[in-house]
Amino acid sequence: MDRKMSVMIVDDEAIVRESLFHWFKKYGHVVETAASGFEALEKLETYPFQLLFVDIKMPGMDGIELLEKIKSDYPDTIVIIITAYGSIESAVKAMRIGAADYLLKPFKPDQLSLVMERISVQERLLSQYNYLKGHLDKITHFDNIIGQSPAMEKVFSLIPEVAQSDASILLFGETGTGKELVAKAIHAESRRSHLPFIAINCGAMPESLLESELFGHQKGVFTGATRARKGFLEVVSGGTLFLDEIGEISPKMQINLLRVLEEKKITSIGSREPVEIDFRLISATRRDLKKEVTEGIFREDFFYRINVIMIEIPPLRKRKEDIPLLAEHFLKKYCQETTKYVDHVTRDAMELLRHYDWPGNVRELENAIERAVVLSKSRTLGVEDLSFIRPPDMQFSKTLSLREMEKAYIQRILEENNWNVTQSAKILGINRVTLHKMMKRYRLERP
């Protein structure tokens, strides 16, 4: 038994608690005792015990009732039932509910030793399984897009269909809805999946830098160009190029890209030699480009070139039935990353999550869960852990236009974060450059 575990002994007989306490101490395990089921549940609230030895016969809450509660609230906790010869039937019942094993007392010392050996092996295998599963989840595609709402089911059904062609795709959805994840899923399902997937946020860089990043440059064409560099349009070579925030690019860049899409050739900055290229384009925007086309803000020819197929990704407020699933997914993710044990979100807290409108969408929900997990001091996420989320009825007292609401919300987040742009951008689910642009647009300044 190499691994040190956290063990709790639950028995109303002090002498049994004491005997087992000292026995486990000799193995260096973290050991705690509880004289009743209620005390055990209280202690489980504050510390993630891995293994519980539970006596079946206890006054108040008996071992079976305690086992049921543990399996419901902390399903990963291992429970071994301790029972006397007269209560074998209860032991069998306990095994059916989910006890890992049972011991008839008094037991031979080596019986307990063998049980612990077996538990240790199981724990090691489970830990390996969780590590490998987490690793696999990261490299597979669909697993990362969570949803069971009809709106998301529609997106899921479109992904494999559109993946088979080379047609340009425009993903339309608000910030934080998971457009890049959908783009990655399309790439992973396509014949180009073994080739690069390159994502560029067009809104995050100035035009000159974006041009250089996409088209590449020759040595010495501008200050700082100390050597020639290939652009991403060339580097992507057969793969998928994902241009996020495509609505932010300038009319000049729209013309350049339009030419690339039509001719399948690029000429790097400072060069006269065109290079043939092959890639599949997926673009994304949160702006109504069709409207901008009619207003003359966005080029019509470029719009139709990038918008052969449009996939609309619904905002989280329109698929609230997905919130519990997403919340549990992020809870598991951040428990693994922070090695904290937070098992579930309470019913009240889940209601709060479901009633909030999530203007920052899935990314905002993910940030909220991450923040709550990091700051949580118990094994459940309650309303108090999510106090930074305001229910919708507390947010605005009068009817606002979308722009007014966006401005007010950005202002609120900035104020709450002492005008720290990096922190606020993270909560809003946008990058710093975009936030600076929005602050400028709405004339938001630190007082």
Binding site: E13, S19, L20, H22, K26, P106, F107, P109, D110
Partner: protein, 181 residues
Amino acid sequence: MTSKKISVGVLPLGDIPEFDLQVIVDHIIGCFKLTAQILPRFEPPGNALDERRLQYNAGIIIETMEATQFGNHDKVIGVLDKDLFIPIFTHVFGEARQGGKCGLVSLYRLAKNPDGSIPPESSINERVAKVALHELGHLLDLLHCERKKCLMHFSGGIDELDEMSLDLCEYCSIYLQDKLR
């Protein structure tokens, strides 16, 4: 294994053969390099006998020993020829609390093989020494070790006891040196 001079008293609980006590003393001196001596006879407390199980409760004996002053010894190993138990187990060969002052060795189950045959005297002596040193190890804060040959490996039966050696594995050995520094 150099050490600060911890002294160990070996306490006969009842009428225990001198030879068994001397075996324990010699092994404490030889294996752990501590000082050790045999103490005057001490009667096990009457309330330690569980009349239903006809066994002696190790916890009660240890508590009585810890409440008694046995010279200036840092640690005391009690030796008795009665069958020992702790409430949750059917029996134990010995008992000691982690980092405690007093431990116990029972000779009762060491003089027979699992098949009921009688082992040679030398095997019995070795078993007695192993249990005594193992319990002393706990008093010196050594934990159970997963290496089967190590003296600090937990042995629930005679077979396992015979399989383990009188020596500490390299890790437990370093840990003990550290504890005694």
